[in-house]
Structure formats: C-alpha cells, structure tokens
Symmetry: D2
Subunit: 338 residues, 4 copies
C-alpha cells in the first residue's frame, strides 16, 4: 500500500500517519519527494483495510498494491481448475458449449430445441425457469415446473443442465434439479446468494455484472469459494458502455486477463453480450480464439415465438454452423471440441 500525502502536508502530519500505520502492525517507509511525500506500507499479509488511514489529516490518496483476492487467484493455485459437471469437464482442454432457449416455455419447446442441441453436438442445455426481468409485468418464467422440464431434458437427451437461481429462497431447489447453478449478472453482488451458492456442492456459473470491474468479479467468486464451493465457472457477458450498436459491449480482453490472474475457467455469452443474433457467431469465434473455455448461447427453434430475448437467439441451423466453426478453430488454438 502507498499513502500519498498532500502537497502541503507538514513533516508532523507525515510522522503522525507513520505512527498510525505502525499501530496497525505494519511498517511505514516515508519517501519525501519533490512535490509531496509518499509513504510505502509493508508487512501486511493481505490487503489492508485502509479507510482509517485514508481519513487522517494530510493524506491525499491511498494506492493499493496487493490484489484483494486470494482463493480465486492463480498465485494461490497455479493450475487450471477443471470443473466436473457430471462428467463434462469445463476448464480443461475441451471447449464446452452450453446452448438452449432463453426461457423454458414448455416441454415441447425444450424437447424440440434439445434435439437440435444434441444434434449440433453441444453437451450442456441452458434454459431459464426463474427469469429476472426488468419489468414486473413481463413473463417471469415457469418456476419449479420449468425445473421439472429441464430434468426431463436431461433424462431424455443425456444433456447436462444449467439454469439460473435468482434468490436464496429457491437456489436449493434449483440445485436439486440442475447440474450447474447460474448466478446472473444482476446478482453478481447479491452476497447472500453468493454465500448460499458457496455452501452448495453443485458447480456455479457466475456472470460478470454489467458494471463490474474484474477485481469485483473475482471477489464475487471469492465469496463463493470462501464458503467451500470451489467449482466456479466465470462468464463474461458484456458490460455497459456508451456504444449503441450492440446491447452490451462484450469485453473479450477479460478472458486473457482472467486466465492470467485466476485459475478458474471462463466462458463467454455472446448472445447477451451483443443482443444481436447476426453478431453471435463472429463473437463466438473471437471468444475461443481469445482463450475462453466455452460458450453459452441462446438458441430457439422458432425464435419469432420466443417469450423472451428472441432477437438474440440463434436458429438451429446457426447453432450447427457455430459448432462447426468451433470444431474447425479448436485445434488451431490447441483445444478440442468434440
């Protein structure tokens, strides 16, 4: 940690700050400069809660050097974490595709789409039973009935299932039905939900919040891991910017950054990340090329009848094309995609 003093801070003020640092059991290294004095702080085992020092008279700014995360960091665990989803491995050599409708609408709909998903070769079926919607008047999902349909998809098609849990009341029942519990972008800092996810054994897929820095994203994963669940998959799904040609801005540089700084697998969601069906495939290609461990995409056999997010859903033919392109790209980036 570095404590930057104000230009006009007297030597007495500097001394007082050094004293306070010592009181916290740390060592202070004052460095007088031409414009102002900075004080290096060492001796901390983890990130110092700097609020006390930040408010001392004469302190202009605190600069943190130590990264705040532990369990999620590659420094802590240098190997890649491979999450085992009932036999389907995420984060290993194989590139994993999760596909399915935005919302579970009916058994017929899910079966029809699952058939295409199997045919295209994806291994994990996505579908929302509990839907977080901006408007209270929009379709909110089928709830537990949707979970039952997803379980039937698993039985009938041999696909693994991922579906979202939106609150602490229902996360346990969601976990009973599904192979991966998704925590959505809006809930990335719903810490009660994260903690409860951390006490499950089911793998968790955590989506990046729309305005979350990567430090915050990794700290949210840290919440889950700190409760004991180490099976966490990260998902970049686009952030909010001024850009208006896509619904969100898919921040692909997050992929290599996270691969360097964390051992957790990271996939991308080009459907939500762009909001435009016609850009999904190019961004899927970009994702595997950037080093992502997989994709989650929306597909609908009749997108014009979808109850939500139809405009960003791939058609079955597009899903097949996407899978074929992933299979062509995988070996070139030293992965497999079966």
């Amino acid at each position: 940690m570095l404590v930057v003093m104000e230009h006009e801070a007297t030597p007495e003020l500097v001394a007082k700050v050094c004293e306070e640092i010592k009181k916290l059991g740390l060592t202070a290294h004052p460095m007088p400069g031409a414009q102002r004095t900075a004080i290096g702080v060492t001796g901390n085992k983890s990130r110092v809660d700097s609020d006390r020092i930040a408010t001392l008279t004469g302190v202009q700014e605190i600069i943190h050097v130590t990264r705040p995360y532990k369990l999620v960091s590659r420094e802590f665990y240098p190997e890649n974490t491979v999450v085992n989803v009932g036999g389907v491995l995420v984060g290993g050599n194989e590139f994993t595709v999760m596909a399915g409708p935005c919302s579970v609408e009916s058994e017929d709909q899910c079966f029809a789409i699952a058939e295409y998903v199997v045919k295209a070769g994806a291994k994990i079926f996505r579908g929302g039973a509990f839907k977080p919607r901006t408007s209270p008047y929009s379709f909110q999902g089928l709830g537990e009935k949707g979970l039952e349909i997803l379980a039937k998809v698993r039985d009938k098609f041999g696909l693994k299932i991922i579906t979202e849990a939106v609150d602490t009341e229902t996360i346990e029942i969601v976990a009973q039905y599904t192979d991966i519990v998704q925590i959505g972008a809006r809930n990335m800092q719903n810490f009660s939900l994260l903690r409860k996810a951390g006490r499950l054994k089911t793998p968790i897929m955590l989506k990046r919040g729309q305005a979350a820095t990567l430090d915050e994203f990794l700290m949210a994963a840290e919440y889950i891991m700190s409760e004991g669940n180490h099976n966490v998959i990260l998902c970049e799904r686009g952030v909010r910017t001024f850009a208006d040609h896509s619904r969100n801005t898919l921040d692909l540089s997050a992929v290599p950054f996270i691969k360097r700084n964390s051992h957790l697998p990271i996939i991308t969601d080009p459907s939500h990340g762009t909001g435009r069906r016609e850009i999904v495939i190019p961004m899927a290609r970009a994702s595997i090329a950037a080093g992502a461990d997989g994709l989650i995409v929306e597909v609908h056999h009749q997108p014009e009848k979808a109850l939500s997010d139809g405009a960003q859903s791939l058609t079955p033919i597009m899903l097949e094309q996407l899978m074929n392109e992933m299979r062509r790209l995988a070996p070139v980036v030293d992965r497999t995609c079966s």
Copy 2:
C-alpha cells in the same frame, strides 16, 4: 411501437410482419420509405412484448414509443408523492437530510454521531447494520445487534432511522427496527428483494444501480409499487463511468428527469456519489439546486477510525456547514429546510 424493416425486405415480408402484428390484436400501419419500410403499431394498452416480432425475417429493429412504467409515472399520478416517515415528510416542501455513519460500529459511536446529527438539525439517522461489501473478508456489519443500536438512537434522540436490507431473509427484521428500509445499488435488480419490500408497509428508499438507466431504475420502483407499497423514495448515488477523479459520477440530471416523469421523491447521495469528502458539500448544494427532495450523507465523529468508507465521511463540523448551506439555499429554490 415502430417496426423497422431491413433495406432489402420484400413486400411479402412486410405483409407477413403486418399479419403477425394483427395476430397480437394490434393495428399495423406500413409506411414505405425511400430506403426501407417502417411499420407503425398501435392499439396496445401497454408496452408490447416485442420479442416475437423482432425475430421475424426482414425485421431490422424494434423501436418502443410507450414507456414501460405505469404506477411510478407522473402520467399515472400527477401529484408529488409525499412519503410520511413517522411524521417526517419526504417529497413535500421540506428538504430532508439523512446523516450518520456508513456502518453501525457500537452504541457509543452511534450516540456520539447522533448527537452531532441532532445538533446539525437533520431528522433522519442513517447507519448500516448489514453491509454489502466487495470482499468477503471485510467487516460485514453488526447485523441484528446493529439494528438494536439504531432503535436506541431513535428512542434517545428522536431521530427517524434508515438502514439497509441486503436480502429477503433479513428484510422483515430490518423493517421491524427501522423507519425506512434501504435497498442498495447492488440490489436494485434483486427482484425477489424488491417484491418483498413491496409487501411491507415501511417506506423504502431505492438506490439507483451503478449501471442502471433511468427506465430500469423506475421499473425497479415499479416492482415495489406493484406489490402494494407506494411509499418509495428514489436515490441517485452515482453511476460508473470512465471518470477517475471521483469514485462514481453523480448523475444530477437524473433529478429533474425523474421529477418530470415520476411522482416519487428523489434524493441524492453525494457521499457515495463522489467518494471524496471534500466534494460532498458542493455536490449537496448542487443537489438541492437541481430539485432533489433531500440528501443522504455519511458523517463520522472520528472518520480516521471508521470501519468503512471513512474517506467519504463528513466530519461533524462539515455536517453543520452542509446543513447551514442547505438552509440558506432552500428558500431560494422555494423549499424549506428547518
């Protein structure tokens, strides 16, 4: 709603889209243009769930005209809503200041600060008992013990209390102790929490999410109101931008925009909105001048010992100065501040 067709869409495709619109019970008004055809849609009583149409072949874009919100809108209820917080009115002529520490740390701390708050003339005491923190290793608040301390502050000092509820498990107990339940920025789209807040009778203060548009912000309030609780206070607390001189960018233009489009009271949080103590007072002045109904600010009698957010807490002397400035400004903007 306006359906914009692609440049190369054939008359047949346009006709098909018109048919689908009719199937939804609406009227289609095709308008052939030089570059492309647009189709006006009328007959809807509320915002159309446009996903079905968005995915029809030949459709380029859907443009909504009808605003998605109802109960929160000024069109629905033209008068200002005045929320009665145990006798303290928010949203009326009086400008309301809520002040107190970021976190409830101890009875001594709260009593010491409450004394300053009373002295300065603020009517509502803020303090976090349940704290949402980016890191699982940071101080998370005193929990119910903190709520008990806040109740003592109310009894002893006659201040009304506002404190945050962070999850559905604890919101009811929070509501028992407090006069206003705060829903924080990170939970603005925690819809289960919003619904539960909507089933309380206690007034709710809802903070704008860090990347929320004003439509989304108002829709979050709509969730609360649609469950029956009409006592909602909105709070602008800064959004995330590239700007790096302040922790967030306090978007003051939200205040007049919301005053025009909604009947709900709106206050600002210049402490979180800037993250810098030395900018809080000017931004408080700007808030009342822009038309805000009040402020929520952090104050600490010993900011250098605060367990969280010390750097943005006002000192007691600064709080007094702030209140004096509000009192000077209030009559000039046709308000009172007693």
Copy 3:
C-alpha cells in the same frame, strides 16, 4: 512513482530495476512485501516518463504519484485566475452567463436573439460561425460571414462575443473577430490547434472532451498555457456514458475537483450537457451551486426554426427565468450576478 513488481520477480530482477531507476538520476526504495515487492521512486522534479521502466522484466505495474500538470495547477499558482474578456471578468466574484444561438444563421436572427440576451442581462453572446458537425451533409456554419455578423452584434449590443475555432487555418481570423475563442470538445486533444491557441492573446475557452479524464482536460489546458496564453477558461459540457435519458452526462463533480486542483475558471454548458431544454435550468442552478464560475447556454427566439440543436435551445422567456434564478442563487453562494 511506485514500481510494483510481479509476484514471482526474483531479487535479481528487483535489483536490476533499481539500477535502471538510478540511471535515470532517481532514487529507488525497494519495499519487500508479503505478496510482492514494490519500489518507491523519488528524486524526480516532474512526472517521470515511465515507459522504460514499465517494460523491464518483472515489472507488473507503474503507479504515478506526481500529478502531470504544472502551469494549470493550483499548487503552482494558488490564487484564482480571473480572465478579463474586454472588461467582463470570468473567474472572479461575478457569475458570468454566455448565451446565444447554436449557429449564426443570419443578421436578423442574431440581432433578434441578442436583444433577448441583453434584456435578460447576460454579458457574452455565443454563436457558431464554423460548426463541427457529425455529418458532412449537415449545415456547417456561415464561416467568415458569420464572424462579421457576430462583430455587428458586439457593436450594436455591447455584448462580448464567443465563437468556436475548428482548425488551425481559421483560428487566427476567428480571433480577430471574437473576444473568446472556443475550442470544442471534439478538438480538446487537437494539439496543433491548442498550441496555436496558446500563441494568441485572446482568451480561450476549452471544452472537456466527451471521454476525457480531468487529468487529460487539464493537460490540454497546459498545452495552451505552455505556449504563453494564460487566459484559459475551462468548460464542463458532459461526458459520454451508458445513460440514455440525456444526450451527455453533465459531470458536475468536475467543478469542485477543478476548483481545488487548478486556478483556472470553470463554467458549465448545460445545453450540450443534457441535450434537453427542459433540464437546462435545473442543471444551471446546480452548476452555480456546485461552484461554477459561469454558464454557456443556447437560446433561440424561434427554436423550431433553428438550423441546429433546436431541441436544447432555451426560449427567450426561459433565458430570462434562468438569469433570474442565477440572481437569486448568487448571493447565497457568495457570488454576484448582476
């Protein structure tokens, strides 16, 4: 400056970085920490060009402590700079309002508007003769003919004139006609234009770029000052964010931040900053309350016939209302507005 080493950097790498720092004539203070070593750097008189060090093996990050700006900084010059615009002082006790049409369209139009501007009590007339427009097919301004009209406005109405210079070819002729040369947001980092502005004697008003940090904004002013022209007025005119209820997000916290860190006057542009006529007045009130030294606003006597930006132009009646509100607010924030 602080050099943060990578977690796995060896003592040899640390030593090598320290050596390089010494070669630059600076002093290195290595501080071994639990997770990694940081190296404090002192001895620099100004901000170190750190690129050489940033690229040494083992270096993870460089953190600058010294602010990059000099002439614009309050540390350099502690008094407020007051810019004398032909007798109208900007940056002193008086709050200055500049008003006029977006574009100079004709003598008749300017005279009609100038009459309202004089009547409302503003002292400086704005109007674009050279207009930077997103589309090459939009109206680009009357050019020198527009400057002549502005000169007539000065003669006839006794108003000072501000108008924009868009390139190095025309800035000198613009300077001959006007009392303040405006550098627009799009040109904030047009360094050739800034340097040329710095060699003029005419006061310059520099607008903040749409994505400029305040450091970059102040450095752009530093370009002008470093060429000898110290008569610089800064203008906050909104930045680009995800928010969609206003054209830009007027970042009012820039005002108190700049007042603390620079001696230059700063005004705001609520017309461009919001893009919505109905929000201009509240944001004007917020600006004076936040500590701004003045305003620049668009006004048009027939906004429905304006050739550009009509939707954000005040009507003459609104301008009068705005001036009256400024006069009421000024004494409360210890200013005058005559």
Copy 4:
C-alpha cells in the same frame, strides 16, 4: 423518422406538427395510440434534419429510422472495398499485419525493428513521426526527420509505410512520404483534417475515437469519402469504459457490425486497445476470428528503451509468434496470411 408526441398533446398540436412535416416536403402518418400519438414521416431521400420538428410544442422525441451514412454504407456499395497500398491489398482475402514501433526514434532503431518485421512476415511498417501526446512535455516525435527515416525503411526493406498525420499543416508532407496516412483516435472528428485527407489520393487509415459510436465513426469516414478519396481503412482501437484492467476496452463487436453495414475494410489495434503486451496476442487471435481484415501492432526490439508506449509493445519474438498464430488461424476463417 418517427415523431413521438407528448402524452398530453392535443389533436391541434398533432395537426400542427403534421403541417410542419408537410412544409418540409414530407408525408406525415399520424398514429394515435393509447398513451400518446406518434407520427410516421416518409418521403425523405436522406436523413431529415429534424431539429425544426423536435422543437415544436407537444413533440416529445424524434426517432430516426434512416441511417445517416451513404457512401460508406454497404447498401450503397455491396462489394468489399479492397484498398491497394502499393500492391499490398487491404480488405481482400489476405489478412494484413502492420507492425513497428510506437515512435520513430532513430534510423538504427527503425532498421533494427524493420528487420524483425520483415522476418516475421508483416508487409507494412508503422512508426510515428508526429506524435499526439497528452502532455506538452512528452516526446512529440521527430517530425519530418522521422518521415525520412520511414522512407529509408521502405527503400531498404520493401515494406509499405503507415504513419500518422496530426494536423492539416503537415498532412500533405506526411502523404508524400507514406503509403497510408493514419488519422488518430483523437482526430476522428477533426473535420478539417478529414476533409483534407479526402482530397489526397493516398489511402487513409481512420481510427475510431475513444467515445465514438459506430455511426459517428462511419460518418467520419463519410467525410473523407465525400471529398473523393475512397481508399479508407477503418481501425477499431478500443473505447473508454469503466473497466480498469486494460487501458481501453477493445470493442470487437464493431468488426462484424461494420462488415455488415459498410464495405470498407476494418482492422484492429490490440496494442492500444489493451495497453498490455501480454494480452495483445490473444486479442489479435480474437480479431482475425471476428472477421477483421488485419492488425496494427506495436513492436520494439528493446521495449525497455522505447520513448513511448513501451509497456504495450511486443518483443520481436512475440511478433513472430503472433504472425505464426495468424497463419494458423487464417485458413480456418477462410482467409490467407502469407
């Protein structure tokens, strides 16, 4: 164009707006809705300058349907434009890599780097002779002497040259020495410079501004084309967001969007787009996979001695690795990279 009327607009106001629309030679289609009336406008050959209508009483909002650009649009010219850079084709089947130092520092430096560039197989050499720098005290480039060095690189190594022109004064001399004139991000809306670039015959590479929408980006290219120079290459180089793990956020979705909407070639700049050497290669892979026509990257043989942007420069070995990866990827995305 769609004119949305306010909720409370009377039929008389609607009629008046329709009349004004007719006066502009257009056809008005009023569509009364449940909440408000919208008026469709047809008959326009290009985008209507809507300011006059936007300001009529009762008008709430104007929504444009017609895209503002013409010459740059794929609707106008359906084939891919292939820019011929002295025999090196950009925008065709071949994936083009431009590489070289940020700044031209000396003949020795350029020759050393050029040798690596040739060896790696890139065809175009980049290097800044005129450098736009945030600080007036930073190294500003060698100017014309730098151009002479670049010309020698061309003669000696057979590489084509790209270098930036920063102002209208020097763009002609830059054009004399170089094969592609670069217009930098800061100058994307320096319209005088764009127009002058449009009157050259030399190919122009236009970088996207840090806060530019794609509409604005394409309109800037329209400025160049409207003056007669159709040899325009677009370059996505990252936009400004709240994300702090990279210098900018490389918005790769711009690539497929622009490929669909424009016939111009688009390349990416992962060096500036990320600011971090270790992320450049993954983002280069992502770029070719997303459909980009090429790359521009920084490389330095001694990055620790670079006079600018050393931290984002590749080493010669990394450049070779990058080129090898492009060669492996190219055939998989139906391109060549020789």
